[in-house]
Amino acid sequence: MHEYSIVQSLVDSVAAAVGSREASVHEVHVAIGEMSGVDCGLLTTAYDVFRAGTLCEHASLTIERIPARWHCPRCDATIARGAFLRCIECNEPAQLASGDEIVLQRIELEVA
């Protein structure tokens, strides 16, 4: 379960973003793509376990799940879910337009 490693990297990323600011982290927003290989449920569990003792200890985690969208790089037609990953019009191999995100979108800081 690599979600623990992801949380470690997430906490490190949050720490780098907070830097030397005198603030505590209130909320963490992430985007996780359907094709990213990260399971949102496991990420939530890993976060709840791993945030103890870190600067995210009192910060809630909000996950935006990004569905996979494959499209034709030539005509931008969306490839139907479950279909062969090739454009039926252009015969081009499909490209993943979105859905591989493992992104820290923003944090909310509590400032005095």
Binding site: M1, H2, S5, I6, S9, L10, D12, S13, A17, A23, H26, E27, V30, M35, S36, G37, V38, W70, G82, A83, F84, L85, R86, P93, A94, Q95, L96, I102, V103, L104, Q105, R106, I107, E108, L109, E110, V111, A112
Partner: protein
């Protein structure tokens, strides 16, 4: 705290970031990749289920090259150095990474091993990832290509069950095809499943224990190393 009216509310300040959570790993992977390019080493991230035949493919690769190319390997497993020892016996300069409980290799682990592995003159470096069809797909190691070993004994719908792994594969090695006469497996179903998760599926059937059983793989590998642009297009 709010200092305007004394209500006790905290002041919340949003900080827009939009940063990749694995940026640190990606940075180390880029460093590894630059190191490989500088030395002319073609690097393969070999992934697949436990028992899919990854180590056997590498042993057969060494036999097929028959000393004609210098090979090195880094073999990742939760425990034991068995795979690395098998590869050493096959004539591949190898080191083991024992990951403990970690289900995948990351760029930092590979980087650490690069300092301990003699890469002088090496043309191909194989990173045999931890046997797992989920986690290794997430981590860039600095490889030139992702290769997934899928054995015919694993089930025809494996690609549909683990789409992320196969979507990231440059080539799928369909291993243990010499067992097909003994199995109730329709290879066409596997090919159709791969076409639903890979935009440009390249599948090479292998039989690592048979003479000439990895010839297609060796041809792909050598071509890809010498002319990556043409084959990538």
């Amino acid at each position: 705290m709010c200092t305007d009216c004394g209500c006790g509310d905290v002041n919340l300040v949003p900080l827009e970031l939009q940063t990749r959570i694995l940026a640190h790993n990606d940075g180390t992977a880029a460093h590894n990749r630059a190191h490989f390019r500088e030395r002319g080493i073609f690097t393969v991230n070999l992934m697949g289920s436990p028992g899919s035949g990854k180590t056997a493919v590498l042993e057969a690769t060494a036999r097929a090259f028959d000393g004609g190319a210098k090979l090195a390997a880094i073999a990742g497993d939760l425990a034991t150095e068995n795979d690395a020892m098998r590869l050493v016996r096959a004539g591949i300069r190898s080191r083991a990474i024992k990951t403990g409980q970690a289900c995948h290799l990351d760029a930092e682990m590979v980087h650490h091993e690069l300092h301990l592995l003699d890469l002088k003159g090496v043309e191909y470096l194989f990173i045999e990832n931890v046997g797992n069809l989920v986690c290794p797909a997430v981590y860039d190691l600095g490889q030139d290509v992702n290769v997934v070993a899928l054995s015919v004994t694993e089930g025809e719908d494996k690609p549909l069950k683990y789409p992320t792994m196969f979507a990231k594969a440059d080539v799928v090695l369909l291993t243990k095809t010499d067992l097909l006469p003994h199995l109730n497996v329709d290879v066409q179903i596997i090919y159709h499943a791969l076409a639903r998760v890979m935009p440009n599926p390249v599948v090479i059937p292998l039989a690592a224990r048979q003479p000439g059983g990895v010839d297609g793989w060796i041809a792909w590998l050598t071509q890809r190393r010498s002319a990556p642009e043409q084959l990538a297009s």
